[in-house]
């Protein structure tokens, strides 16, 4: 009875479905890369550069090699991924493998490196100035010749047509390093000219390929498995720890494992690209938007490239405007490489747009929600925000406005809104603030190239094998999708292999929020493949083989481990019975499919290529103490058009996770360097502050309960399996923006520096 469009779903949407590996997790048996036991395993430690910009002129590893217990030392000369040119503090210079971690660490102290120090620049505003030290890839400057540019219409004419123009310009947001708890780890060993190992990343196949190239081995001889992904959040796309381990293992003739020291966790490739933004909007007096101009400079580390966050793509799909200009510059500095954090729609970018909207609403004497209703895209599938003169393309999920209205209603936005800073003081003297945000998020897009295989077992159960690493909650939603499609009970489906490119290749980064839709799509396709093979065998067996007319596979259906005739469910057999009789394997394979809408909507039939979006909104109420600068969250609501909720528990967790991260982003996270030395100061989890249990809202009532803090719209028209959308990342900017909009509303003044500390609040109020 597994209906593609959710008529009578047995497994999908069922809160009972749990991660099949749950017991391993709570027993501590889920193995991460350096948990794997192996005889004679050695432990590696890295030596990082103490300078932000330098040239290595000499390196002497003899003392390290002579230390008892040391088995191998490698340097930048051995590892083609490393270099004698140092571009940031902490850049890898050498590594040691020894019989234990502490011998390896002592040995790194014995490596003598001679550096020729070079002028460095840490902050992007300095890097952009004439005469600044050249930090990275460009020979004569720290900016590209031209920005990444997107245009539509004529933005100059749009501003000429405007009756009001508003601007919002941010400072630099130096927010977060991807300081995940598990750190970067890996393991490798050699058998002949084959290299084996454990990796940890969000893109097992592409990492295997790049690591094979670095090791100069054929991909067929490179057996790196990224079974566990840990938390990625945008920083898990690359991992070269297995390369370090493999090079050491080859020298030592023994397996080598590594877990980066915390201080070397964040510098390489683990910082969010820090943006500085200018947002300029033009409106008619009736609120019609005539022009949208977005400029972003991205603090991208030593090789920022030409672009930034691609934030314009999400912003652009939120509102209606014929004239658009988006420009993004990457700025090179002597810091670790920047990466997208958790969402292509940088929360900071969305916030600047919101603040420009709030300014416009004030000038136009409108409630901000009224202006949003005027400018944001509608439910009409014929009116997604398309380029004029081009063929319109459907948008596969259009729950954004529904989410916005729901959030506004739940929080009471229209009634409670007041001019910024003009709210009636609360009885305790604190200032009240309220904020709302909505956008269409491109995350969750179903992309092609994900691979997944299913093997039916003789007893009617099955295993799936995937090139995806085991990241957040993936096991439960993949199991649910496969069980629903195959007509099995949910616990009859289990994962055989995670993250092994040799079993099921994967076309690229699974990118967190795209995992459910993309790999889920591959899972559904593989399950359909298996079901067709199973039914083909079933129709040749009793009770179907003796029926007249002889049924075809289209006449069969499956549910709860039974296969039966649709027209007469008493004619029934089981998956197990079919498998036992054929006594041969059934294997199915699937790839993720392109963005095809799966329910008719408006003028768009099933099968239409669609732009995939997740519509989200959030609203927050805060109280700000103007004497201490403390902020309390009084009330909040998140609304997400997740499409079909495959696993409600997973969706709950993603909302809570988004909120936790954005509380950190708003109030805690700040990447700091010593401007005198270039040393990263926020090296550890004490200085690089994460939100704790004490910082987070202790209650959340959500899907399936009586509360209203987290609400999921189930607009089942998207391109994901069973009409699902991506979730997780879309909720991050909505939380950040609604929360900071509320603080802005309370104070009546924008705070452009992040994080919003009590000091910065008091400074904005003129009290410091």
């Amino acid at each position: 009875m597994a209906d593609e469009f959710g008529a009578t779903l047995k497994v999908v949407g069922n809160r009972v479905v749990t991660d099949p590996e749950s017991e391993d997790i709570v027993r501590g048996r889920l193995r991460f890369p350096n948990d794997h036991p192996m005889a004679g395993k050695l432990f590696a430690k890295l030596l990082g550069s103490p300078y932000a910009h330098a040239k290595i002129t000499n390196i002497d590893t003899s003392a390290a090699e002579a230390l008892p217990g040391v088995k191998a030392v490698i340097t930048y000369k051995d590892n083609t991924f490393w270099s004698s040119t140092i571009l940031f503090w902490g850049q890898e210079v050498a590594a040691v493998a020894a019989v234990d971690e502490y011998t390896a660490e002592r040995a790194t102290d014995l490596i003598k490196v001679t550096y020729e120090q070079l002028p460095f620049v840490i902050y992007p505003e300095e890097a952009m100035q004439a005469g600044a030290p050249i930090a990275g890839a460009y020979p004569t400057k720290n900016l590209p010749d031209a920005p990444s540019r997107q245009t539509r219409g004529d933005v100059t004419q749009g501003f000429k047509d405007a009756e009001i123009t508003v601007e919002s310009n941010s400072g630099w947001a130096r927010t977060i390093s991807m300081n995940t708890i598990e750190g970067c780890s890996g393991m490798a060993w050699w058998v002949g000219d084959h290299v084996y190992g454990y990796d940890q990343n969000q893109a097992p196949t592409s990492n295997r390929n790049s690591n094979a190239a670095l090791l100069k081995v054929a991909q067929s001889k490179c057996h790196f498995i990224a079974r566990t992904g840990g938390g990625g959040f945008g920083g898990g796309g690359q991992s070269h720890e297995p390369v370090t381990c493999a090079l050491l293992a080859k020298k030592a003739g023994a397996p080598v494992t590594i877990q980066r020291m915390r201080r070397y966790q964040s510098p390489p490739r683990r910082n969010q690209t820090g943006p500085k933004l200018n947002m300029k909007l033009g409106f008619k007096k009736d609120g019609t938007m005539t022009a949208w101009q977005f400029s972003e400079w991205c603090w991208g580390g030593y090789n920022a490239g030409s672009g930034g966050s691609n934030a314009w793509e999400n912003l652009d799909s939120t509102f209606k405007c014929a004239n658009l200009l988006a420009e993004e510059w990457g700025v090179n500095t002597n810091t670790g490489l920047g990466e997208n954090y958790r969402c292509l729609l940088h929360p900071e970018s969305a916030q600047m747009q919101d603040w420009a909207f709030l300014k416009a609403a004030k000038v136009l004497n409108m409630n901000p929600l009224t202006l949003m209703r005027k400018c944001y895209i509608t439910e009409d599938p014929n009116e997604p925000n398309q380029d004029p003169g081009t063929t319109p393309v459907a948008m596969s999920s259009q729950g954004m406005r529904k989410a916005m209205e729901k959030a506004a209603t739940v929080i009471g936005y229209e009634a409670k809104y007041h001019e910024p800073g003009a709210g009636t003081p609360r009885t305790d003297g604190r200032k009240h603030g309220i904020g709302i945000h909505a956008h269409n998020d491109r995350h969750g897009t179903t992309s092609t190239g994900r691979g997944l295989n299913i093997n039916m077992n003789a007893d009617g159960t099955c295993h799936f094998n995937t090139g995806q690493s085991r990241v957040q909650d993936a096991a439960s939603y993949l199991s649910a999708i496969i069980a629903e499609t195959l007509g099995l009970k949910w616990d009859a489906v289990n994962c055989g292999v995670w993250g092994d490119p040799s079993v099921a290749s994967d076309g690229g980064s699974q990118a967190g929020s795209a995992g459910a839709t993309s790999n889920g799509g591959a899972a559904q396709e593989a399950a359909i493949d298996v079901k067709n093979q199973l039914f083909t065998q079933a129709v040749t067996m009793a009770p179907f083989s003796t029926l007249t007319p002889k049924p075809t596979i289209a006449d069969l259906d499956a549910s709860d481990g039974n296969i039966f005739l649709k027209s007469d469910p008493t004619k029934i057999t089981t998956h197990a019975a079919v498998m036992a009789k054929i006594a041969k394997p059934i294997m199915g394979s699937g790839k993720s499919r392109a963005n095809i809408i799966r329910r008719p909507q408006g003028n768009w039939p099933i099968g239409t290529t669609a732009v995939h979006r997740t519509g989200v909104a959030a609203a927050y109420e805060v109280a700000v103490d103007t004497e201490t600068g403390e902020v309390e969250i009084l009330n909040w609501v998140h609304v997400c058009d997740a499409g079909r909720v495959i696993n409600a528990s997973v969706c709950d967790g993603q909302i809570a996770s988004a909120q936790s991260h954005q509380i950190g982003k708003a109030f805690l996270w700040e990447l700091k360097h010593d401007p005198q030395t270039g040393v990263l100061l926020t090296q550890n989890l004490l200085d690089d502050k994460l939100a704790t249990q004490m910082d987070c809202n202790p209650t959340m009532n959500s899907y399936g309960t009586t509360g209203t803090n987290a609400i999921f719209l189930e607009t089942v028209n998207s391109s994901g399996p069973f009409g699902m959308n991506g979730i997780g990342e879309p909720c991050a900017p909505s939380c950040y923006c609604a929360l900071t909009n509320a603080i802005n509303n309370a104070l009546g003044t924008e705070i452009y520096e992040r994080p919003i500390t009590p000091y910065r609040i008091l400074k904005a109020l003129g009290k410091i």
């Binding site: 749990t18 991660d19 590996e21 749950s22 017991e23 997790i25 709570v26 027993r27 501590g28 048996r29 991460f32 948990d35 036991p37 192996m38 005889a39 395993k41 432990f43 008892p68 217990g69 019989v99 234990d100 502490y102 300081n179 708890i181 598990e182 060993w189 050699w190 058998v191 084996y196 566990t228 992904g229 840990g230 938390g231 959040f233 397996p255 915390r262 957040q472 909650d473 439960s476 528990s649 997973v650 709950d652 967790g653 809570a656 996770s657 909120q659 936790s660 991260h661 550890n684 989890l685 994460l690 939100a691 704790t692 249990q693 004490m694 987070c696 809202n697 202790p698 209650t699 959340m700």
Partner: protein, 242 residues
């Protein structure tokens, strides 16, 4: 050589039996219970242990000898079963640890953190390490009913104390109530911090069986979760206490 050992040799992969042998490589002395565990898995003879001990002692003997004599260990308050098997050859640089009710004599440097010894010497890899400096709570174990950060305890100071790791919470097939609640409520995403969260919750509920929400928040505040699953974690703690 068994088929399993042949597979290990050819592929480099680790079998369960080989894992247990490797545990024997670095565990200087084992209890009857531990030997029985190895026997039950089809391997782990006394000769295996002795042979591998020699390898270990060779590489650590000099430094360990110096380090171990300078350690002032706390009074031994072992209440676990007595050691019934002591294997000679690893006396230099060995400490006695009581983990999950079993007693082990372990070859180690005295200053090595308990977390490292548990994970990489003894094979209790359920204890994860995040920051390695007492900031994240991921390595939490329970000693004397209290949550303790295993990355901050030199192993010599853990001698004689009753140490419980995540592997020691369940009674056979029956999960500890906190483990079962975390499972039932799917209180994890990537799962890396989960063992530490569970150990802190167990210690909290041992000290305060019916905590208020604020007490539970404070009690769990030493355990970071980068996935940000705090709400579900708190809900699970409160449900386990109910």
């Amino acid at each position: 050589m068994s088929e399993e050992e042949k597979k290990d040799k050819n592929t480099g992969e680790m079998s369960r039996r080989q894992f247990l042998k490797d545990a024997g490589l670095v565990i200087g002395g084992v209890t009857v219970g531990s030997l029985a565990f190895m026997d039950a898995c089809g391997g782990g003879t006394t000769s295996t242990v002795t042979n591998t001990l020699t390898k270990t002692a060779t590489s650590t003997v000099t430094q360990t000898a110096t380090a171990i004599t300078t350690v002032t260990s706390p009074p031994i308050t072992v209440t676990s079963p007595p050691i019934t098997t002591t294997v000679t050859g690893a006396a230099v640089g060995s400490v006695t640890l009581n983990v999950n009710g079993d007693t082990y004599i372990v070859d180690t440097e005295a200053y090595w953190p308990l977390s490292y010894v548990l994970r990489h010497v003894m094979g209790f890899t359920g204890t994860k390490v995040g920051c390695d400096r007492g900031e994240c709570g991921t390595c939490t174990v329970i000693i004397g009913g209290k949550a303790v950060l295993a990355c901050c305890i030199p192993v010599a100071e853990a001698q004689g104390l009753a140490i419980t790791t995540i592997e020691g919470l369940a009674k056979g097939a029956t999960l500890h109530k906190v483990q079962q609640t975390f499972l039932d409520m799917q209180t994890f995403q990537c799962g890396y911090c989960t063992p530490g969260q569970i150990m802190s919750a167990v210690a909290l509920l041992t000290e305060i069986p019916k905590p208020t929400l604020a007490q539970a928040q404070e009690g769990m505040s030493g355990n970071l979760c980068y996935c940000g699953d705090y709400t579900r974690i708190l809900n699970a703690v409160m449900k386990a206490a109910a």
